[in-house]
Amino acid sequence: MSVGPPDGWAWLRQQAEGGEVHTVRVSFADRLGQWRGKRVPVSHFLRSDGVIGFGSGLLVADVACDVYDSTPFASMENGYPDVYLRPVAEDLRPVAWAPGEVYCFARPTDDDGGPVPVAAAWVLDAVVARAAATGWTPQTAVVASCRLWTADGEIVRPNSEPARDWAVTVADALVASGVDVTDVTTDLQSVRFRIGPGEPSAVAQAAVVAKGAMKELATRSGFTATFITVLAGHGAAMEVELPGVELTPAAWDGVRRRLGQARPLLQPSVNAIKSPCPTLVPYPGGVRLSGVSPEADPYIALALALAALSAEDEETGPDADAFELGHAAAQLATSAWVRDWLGDDYVDNAVPLLIEEARQFARVVTDWERERYGSLA
């Protein structure tokens, strides 16, 4: 992966003095892998080391940023206390499509600088460390994808010329922003950017940046970039590549069962779970986790791919067979291996949000119901 400037603070000071940079995007990824943060004037960033605080609710919020009292990490009961971002200047990268801006991701920490257990970046770090303890230093790649809508709500054919031109613009901007895009493909379903291979957390961060760039640059071109999974019968997917990994037939069944239990984290919406269950498939030179929703958090997708391969416990329970989000979340809650690898804190905060998402959908009467049942006597 590309690296930032070796002496980030000096570089940034020089850029600021030269008028090249005016704003730093102090950034983090939310639980759906969306790019969030504050825009900090470079003068304040340099004076304050860029530390910012924000309400912990943002780490346990749903897709509409709503929060619920059922998440133990942050709720009305503890008053949604602050968590903090403490950027490392060596992680600074230019936002190539926004002149004058640079970005810097940081892991959310508590008051004392300790890890926040519901932040997926920390979860991935822990999984990578466990893998490393077994002698495996994983390299990963991600294929991030989206579809485009016009202002009129029409789907833009991904392999149309406007979409392809747009994809080249995005890819150029990402590469200039330190994101290692190696391939851009368009097919009937989505525009896809392959990022990596590289160290997992760097690839996950790059995927979050890529999603943000897709959104921003789509808007600039008069489109809307959507990460919704199933649209007009077609499914879009994010893929996780694990080069150099071989999967023996004997290990296959355990991996399949583990991923089934983790399904609602890989397909975290009522729409996403309409797709087939994510699974590992071989490709020349490695294996690929296929069928992950573009709505999923890349950090968690990578963590689960690595953990599913690393876990050694025999999965003896029944297959997770849920095809509905609430049911899948209930099965996730009882998954020993997911708890072991992602941590109880992560699971205990993810499950209520998935169940709440399902509950919200359960209150909605769909067009399909009206068509199917409306004429019954």
Partner: protein, 417 residues
């Protein structure tokens, strides 16, 4: 020779900023304004009908980044005979800060204001779905927010950050703490600049407390601390609250009910002050807990401070600060001890003093408060109450859309959906 102009900014009693462009060579000649414009509800008798003078405070003069080629200056209000006007909120804050200063302490503050960007064609938020801190979404508004941040910085207003807030269309710009009068001036200029830049981008900006029933309210959190000889007197070496901070805190809490009106001067503001809204409904303090009226922020010894969270973004910033600082200093002067900190969800607490839930209740508490009169002065208190009563009267005469939806035809038939 091309005349040079200065934008003179002053606020009325309810906190609305007014501006006028004054030719620079006339800047030291005060400009008369109608007393009723400053204090609606006052000036109904001949004795009160004299104009007031807008008197620029040259210490605040600077280049106006939002109107190139002009300057901007904050102004006080004076009587026609040149005396400071007792109706001037900025002067009232300066007096309260002077009293604090006479005890050897400087008051530092930061105001944290939320606003909505509004599509003027539809009078709805500039975007629909909440995208708190969303980077991609906020990029759509960087044509507004970047010039706002950079312009304020150029005007010696230290912007720390900007972000999207907790409802569609809602934004926040964080300002660095400063001596309290400058902090209030910065807040006023931020509001003016936000509206200016928004209009240039084809939007409106509103600091209204609660523009939409189903969206978050816009608050003004006030961060405050006392300093002596360059040292934060609120912090013990480990960052925890000092005895002085605790007394100040006790003062804030003791007077919070009586002074609610200063931070929430409209009937609309009370729609924001409800359970679960992150605006407080009871008097309580504690650590890092967003359900409380006052948060003690002690994570960094250099930045230990108290954050009072009840005011709305459209209040008179000078008066809100004057009330809070007076209350805090009263706590210090009398050596008060705060009650124990509150933990947990304060909205669920029924044993704590309840904050006013309507403007009428807040008005009555303020009117009955001898402390309020001492803090901001008899004349200002009375004029403020007059202005509020006019506000109450107007709100009582209005018929809200919600009422029509709920009750139109309701006496005959109501179908619950």
């Amino acid at each position: 020779m091309t005349p040079q102009w200065t934008e003179v900014v002053w606020v009325d009693l309810l906190g609305t900023a007014h501006t006028l462009l004054r030719r620079n060579d006339l800047l030291d000649e005060p400009v008369p304004v109608s007393r009723g414009m400053v204090a609606p509800g006052d000036g109904t008798t001949a004795a009160h009908a004299r104009d007031l003078l807008v008197r620029p405070d040259r210490k605040t003069l600077r280049a106006n980044a939002f109107r190139p080629g002009t300057d901007v200056v904050l102004a006080d209000l004076a009587e026609v005979d040149g005396r400071d006007s007792e109706l001037c909120a900025r002067t009232a804050l300066r007096r309260v800060l002077g009293e604090a200063g006479s005890t050897g302490f400087d008051v530092y503050a930061a105001v944290e204001l939320e606003a909505y960007l509004v599509d003027p064609a539809t009078s709805t938020p500039a975007y629909r779905q909440t995208d708190c801190y969303g980077m991609a979404r906020s990029a759509q508004f960087e044509n507004l927010l970047a010039p706002l941040r950079n312009g304020l910085l150029a005007m010696d207003i230290e912007v720390e950050a900007s972000n999207l807030e907790y409802s569609g269309g809602q934004v926040e710009v964080n300002l660095r703490y400063a001596p309290a009068l400058k902090a209030a001036d910065d807040g006023v200029l931020l509001r003016v600049a936000t509206q200016t830049v928004a209009q240039r981008c084809g939007l409106e900006a509103t600091f209204m407390a609660k523009p939409w029933t189903d969206q978050a309210g816009s608050g003004m959190h006030v961060h405050q601390s006392l300093w002596r000889a360059g040292r934060n007197a609120f912090a013990e070496p480990d960052g925890s609250l000092s005895g002085m901070a605790r007394s100040y805190l006790a003062g804030l809490l003791d007077r919070m009910v009586d002074l609610t009106l200063l931070g929430s001067p409209t009937a609309n503001a009370y729609h924001r002050r409800v359970s679960g809204s992150f605006a407080p409904t009871v008097v309580g303090w504690g650590g890092d807990n967003r359900t409380l009226a006052v948060r003690a922020i002690t994570s960094n010894p250099a930045a230990t401070r108290l954050e009072q969270r009840d005011a709305s973004a459209d209040c008179n910033i000078y008066l809100a600060l004057a009330g809070q600082v007076a209350a805090g200093m009263d706590g210090v002067g009398t050596g008060r001890i705060p009650p124990p900190p509150v933990t947990g969800n304060s909205y669920a607490r029924t044993d704590l003093p309840r904050l006013p839930s309507s403007i009428v209740e807040a008005h009555d508490r303020f009117a009955a408060s001898a402390f309020a009169r001492r803090a901001i002065g008899d004349t200002l208190t009375q004029a403020y109450l007059d202005a509020i009563r006019l506000e109450v009267d107007l709100s009582l005469r209005s018929s809200a859309g919600w009422e029509r939806r709920r009750h139109l035809g309701g006496s005959v038939l109501r179908v619950d959906r």
